[in-house]
Amino acid sequence: MGLVAAFSEALSGLKSMVVGLKVTGTNFLRPQETVHYPRQEVPRDALATFRGHIELVGTDDDPALARCVGCGLCMELCPSRCIRVEAEDPPPAEAPPSVAHTMSDLLMPTPKFRAAPPSQAPVARKLLGYHLTYHTCSLCGLCVQNCPAGSIRFSSNVYFAGEARETFELDLMARLRRQSGREGGKP
């Protein structure tokens, strides 16, 4: 490297150091981003991207009723196995009418059970309970991404702390009801 090139590089390096001081200087004068927690809380709009524990989304008609159809996909996908969905099974389909014994039946015995033929009307499953064991959740978000009904989202429950493990075992349906104001208590 020639002397001139070395000097020009050194000068540009010096300039970058002045720029660095300018950056820290301007940041020094800007207002703080952090809050004094017990006395202040984070403004709600700053929590838009916060990933708290998951929560259920209410239907448009009734905010106390979850959109969840109880398919259990979230429970299947969850790598930490922290979701437990309880849904009422669809009413048992009527057994297919037994067919009179024919020659072929004699050769091949009739299975004891036979799946019901796919029904045309969608089977309505009723959601009975939605439980989250938050202390094992890794907040990967697979459930939120893959919910076919769009019924799960991340909550903005920032100040969630507790001393007992049970504090983090959540009944999300009850929480949804509380949030909609149907029952009293903290959201």
């Binding site: 820290t24 207002p31 703080q32 952090t34």
Partner: protein
């Protein structure tokens, strides 16, 4: 016996006591300022909980440090191990004693103030050496080797840049160097010797082991260097010495380059303190601005840039002084 109560002796003792108070108070204050500046640069409040705006945080930290057990590593030379932090701190009051805080406020009036400061500043290297070796820990020893290489390397351009100013003034007496400069900024030495000031400042930051040259302490990255084995107040004294050294280099820069106690409207110690604290604040700001240099970068900067530049500056100064007579 009569010498014992001679006015000069009493004066010296009083000056040393006053300097110790000044250094201790500044150590506490700078610890707080450092953390506040760090906080605000990163747009957070800094210490806030202990006392109003965290003012008592330094006291709480000191209390914590004093309360800690003083552990000596097994197999270490206990005497040398505990001498090292004292040796790091001991020369600090002596470096302040010749400092002219104003036209007639100094501890020891000597013609060799500059030499006194520079020679006692060398003690720090010995302290680092001792701390690293006596810890009986290979990381400490490596840290000491690093710190000593750094301190020895940066001492040379620092001396050369200071020498240029001494040549210009024709004196090693700090009072005379300060008096040589006028009240207004364009009469200060920094205008005649901008390169020397720049070299001095960079070297001073490196000598005090401040970021971006803080390879000697890098706690989490380089196992804290020579401080690895020091617990409680042993570590505290080393850090107090670091802050005190920061004050010393800022004081020297104020006297040599920024006109000392002289100021446009109100000459006196207030101007001196204002200039000194401006430099200290700049050093603190630099710590939170620049990333730490690599060790080869650190040595390259010194041997390939600062040394030749300081030599060129010195030769040019000598030439000009010879030509136009200097002071």
């Amino acid at each position: 016996m009569s010498d014992f109560f001679a006015p000069e002796f009493v004066r010296l003792v009083l000056a040393l006591v006053a300097i110790m108070g000044f250094v201790a108070a500044n150590g506490m204050a700078l610890l707080y300022v450092e953390r506040k500046v760090a906080g605000h640069v990163q747009r957070r409040p800094g210490p806030f909980e202990v006392g109003p705006h965290g003012l008592l945080q330094a006291l709480a930290d000191a209390g914590k440090l004093v309360g800690k057990q003083l552990a000596t590593p097994r197999g270490a030379d206990a005497l040398l191990f505990w001498t090292a932090p004292l040796m790091a701190f001991m020369p600090v009051p002596l470096m302040f004693i010749a400092m002219p805080f104003s036209e007639n406020l100094w501890g020891l009036g000597t013609d060799l103030g500059l030499v006194l400061i520079l020679s006692f500043a060398g003690f720090n290297v010995l302290a680092l050496c001792l701390a690293g070796w006596a810890s009986n820990n290979k990381w400490s020893l490596l840290g000491a080797a690093r710190a000593v290489a750094q301190a020895v390397a940066y001492e040379i351009p620092l001396l050369l840049s200071v020498l240029a100013v001494a040549m210009l003034t024709g004196s090693l007496d700090l009072r005379e160097v300060a008096a040589h400069q006028g009240a207004w900024p364009w009469q200060w030495n920094v205008f005649v010797q901008p390169l020397a000031f720049f070299i001095y400042f960079v070297c001073a930051v490196a000598e005090t082991n401040r970021a971006p040259f803080d390879l000697a302490e890098a706690e989490s990255e380089l196992t804290a260097g020579v401080h690895t084995e020091y617990s409680g107040m042993g570590n505290g004294i080393i850090f107090l010495a670091e802050y005190a050294n920061m004050l010393v280099v800022s004081c020297v820069a104020t006297v040599l380059f920024l006109g000392g106690a002289a100021g446009p409207w109100a000459p006196g110690p207030w101007w001196f303190l204002a200039k000194m604290y401006a430099l200290v604040t700049l050093i603190i700001f630099m710590r939170w601005t620049y990333p730490r240099v690599r060790f080869d970068q650190l040595l390259n900067l010194n041997w390939r840039w600062l040394m030749p530049l300081a030599l060129v500056n010195l030769v040019l100064t000598a030439f000009c002084v010879k030509l136009w007579g200097g002071a």
